[in-house]
Symmetry: C2
Subunit: 261 residues, 2 copies
């Protein structure tokens, strides 16, 4: 196929070094993925952690050891160059924020691409459900909860959730819509009282920005891709590479095609 | 087909006059239906009311004018004899509670069979979601709401809802399950705060029996088949025949086959 999709054009711009900002809003309708890269001797455990905790860690793809390619997400994707900005961690500490990780690539690295809520947010707004963090131009608020992930080897920790305030009828509709998207976090894990999942102050998110929950709304909580990142950093592997928040991999997959039915 | 199903055996027992009690628990797995019979000159408006308000008035079948048969629900069903006990209303007032309405049948009567929550309750309990009114052996609590039905001719009124208390995770799962059953009320219409749909005291249902909502639960509300009955009686037609509460038509349809996917 010689057709150049909008997602390929975005990646080419990033690969050339012409763009190093957030990917939100780029190549609308295309799936964006969270990136986590680990040495092979940590990768098997991390894969098991993702498989045991599919709601916060929905795997879009896993690379062959040593390969920076994920052909199922886009034929010419090169994970060393195609994200706007990376984060490099050594023993869990952030040590660098490069725009290219070619120099760091090794034959024992394995890349994980994890689905992101952008995909189901597309389906929600297309259905007429307003998302306040979008209308306010803010990052969705995220919280550590008292829900514990199923541990796998050196990986464990609390589930992190994102929160979107909604009227009850929209919350019910949002359950229906996001149920169809298991590959990008799926249905909510909780709605209603935050204290029941260990969130003491809804106005103080652990990540992202606070947004108001109006008097006639309830908070609706989805499992969040920050969960595996937090578990990863807590495990302090000698090397881990992720992406700068908001600077994700733009794939050739269509959000609409992530619907299971 | 000569096979006699359990539902046929139940109806034969009722037709012979050997049973006049509640139908809950009889012929497990089979759809039970609410019955409403009206003169033809009221039936067209009532049909339109049902079609405009499908969540509280999910129609399983409508008979031919003058016919007491509904072959799509069971080949030999005779609506004049096959329900344990009927209620006869004249101008909206209850005037009789017979076990047979053969003597009342007229060539201008039309029968409506409306789906009932028993069908989705089966799916919920099969999925491991406990229903407190069942475990307490009570009738589900029902409430008039501030949600108005779409009026049709002489029929109008508030939506009546049934309430089942659940933990949030079960409420989310219940949305998923009941969404698959649009023919028997479908997904909830509300969850969380009762006052947002005009219910001032959750401990004082308008129909059925009160059941407690525990501290870590939320009330989940489904559109209820009492809605069309209430609209009907308020319209005060010269003749209307329904069923004694809990004494419904046991059909040959399987609850599981009501799932839309």
């Amino acid at each position: 196929m010689t057709r150049t999709t909008e997602s390929q054009m975005v990646r080419q711009r990033i690969r050339r070094g012409d763009y190093d900002g957030q990917t939100s809003g780029l190549a609308p309708g295309h799936v964006q993925g969270n990136l986590i890269i680990l040495p092979q001797d940590w990768a098997a455990e991390f894969l098991r952690f993702c498989q045991l905790n599919p709601k916060p860690c929905p795997l879009l793809s896993v690379s062959e050891p040593g390969s920076p390619y994920v052909p199922s997400l886009g034929a010419e994707i090169d994970l060393r160059t195609d994200l706007p900005r990376y984060r490099v961690y050594r023993n869990g500490d952030l040590v660098d924020r490069p725009t290219d990780i070619s120099a760091l690539w090794r034959e024992d690295l394995v890349a994980f691409l994890i689905g992101c809520s952008f995909s189901f947010e597309d389906a929600l707004t297309s259905d007429g459900i307003p998302l306040r963090h979008q209308t306010l131009g803010k990052v969705v608020p995220m919280y550590r909860t008292s829900i514990l992930c199923v541990p796998a080897g050196r990986f464990s920790g609390p589930m992190v959730v994102s929160m979107r305030p909604m009227k009850a009828a929209d919350a019910i509709r949002a359950v229906q819509i996001t149920t169809r998207f298991p590959a990008v976090h799926g249905a909510p894990v909780h709605l209603g009282r935050p204290d029941l999942i260990g969130i003491s102050k809804i106005s103080q998110p652990d990540y992202g920005e606070a947004i108001p929950v109006e008097e006639d709304e309830m908070p609706v909580f989805w499992a969040c891709g920050v969960t595996p990142q937090a578990a990863l950093l807590a495990a302090r592997p000698p090397l881990a590479i992720g992406h700068e928040p908001g600077c994700m991999l733009v794939t050739d997959l269509l959000n609409s095609r992530q619907a299971s039915f």
